[in-house]
Symmetry: C2
Subunit: 126 residues, 2 copies
DNA sequence: TATTGACTTACAGTTAACTCTAAGGTCTAC
DNA sequence: GTAGACCTTAGAGTTAACTGTAAGTCAATA
């Protein structure tokens, strides 16, 4: 009946410190507690944490994630706004992918250039 | 005969603060000076700055960029090592692209889910 | 000649995102 | 009944990467 912070830390890859920090900052919604006052995570929390990690790892600042999460507490009326935020972020990710692809090419060219310099140096040393 | 720090700031998109900071930290090699002691950038610098931005924007920490740049001062003998670092980073970028593509899909699914919830809410309110 | 503007330095301050410490509560096993 | 593992909080400290400030130099212009 619920997961400890240790378990969630292992499952999510976030440290216990980070999980507490996220809750305190409102990046995570307030987590349920057991009879001893210890955090008691559920599957929905884990799912939300997975989404949060996804947003974070694709470059969304935690202040923005916080805003997104605070909307999800407001129920149905905030669905369009939540969707809008995700769509905006999706554009961001797509841009980043293009950007990364361009830069992967650039780095590849640079690598080829270094290879050619090495060949040249080898030829000269003969 | 050389660009001022202001010009380079405009061309590179890095602030003057950042350019000075990069030079001080060894992220940029030492920049030439004019007769007044002012920085005097050249096209090679601009090219190198462009590579540095590329590495930075694809997630290389500036400590690593610094290491890469310090190698380029050592001439031909360090070419293979420079190439190795770039190749390693290229793998990193490729991984990130895959990761981002996966997450773009995940976010897209979430958007679709929100849309369906909105439809449902609309239907219920009728 | 005085002021304006662009530059210089050294160094202090800021921001985001953790990360750790200290002091303490609760449960289980020996 | 105490040792050890787990949890709690408040708040301090850390790290990377800037960003800003203060005090000063220099050259061109009103």
């Amino acid at each position: 009946m619920g997961y400890s912070i240790k378990t969630i830390s292992q499952k999510s890859g976030l440290s216990q410190y980070t999980l507490r920090y996220y809750e305190k900052e409102g990046v995570l919604p307030v987590v349920a507690r057991d009879e001893n006052g210890n955090r008691c995570f559920h599957d929905e929390d884990l799912e939300l944490i997975s989404l949060i990690c996804c947003l974070k790892d694709t470059g969304m600042p935690i202040a923005d994630i916080k805003q997104f999460i605070s909307l999800s507490k407001e129920g149905h009326s905030s669905l369009p706004e939540q969707r809008r935020l995700l769509q905006e972020h999706k554009l961001h990710i797509d841009e980043k992918i293009k950007f990364f692809q361009t830069f992967a090419q650039k780095v590849e060219h640079k690598i080829a250039y270094f290879s050619s310099l090495e060949e040249q140096a080898k030829a000269e040393s003969k």
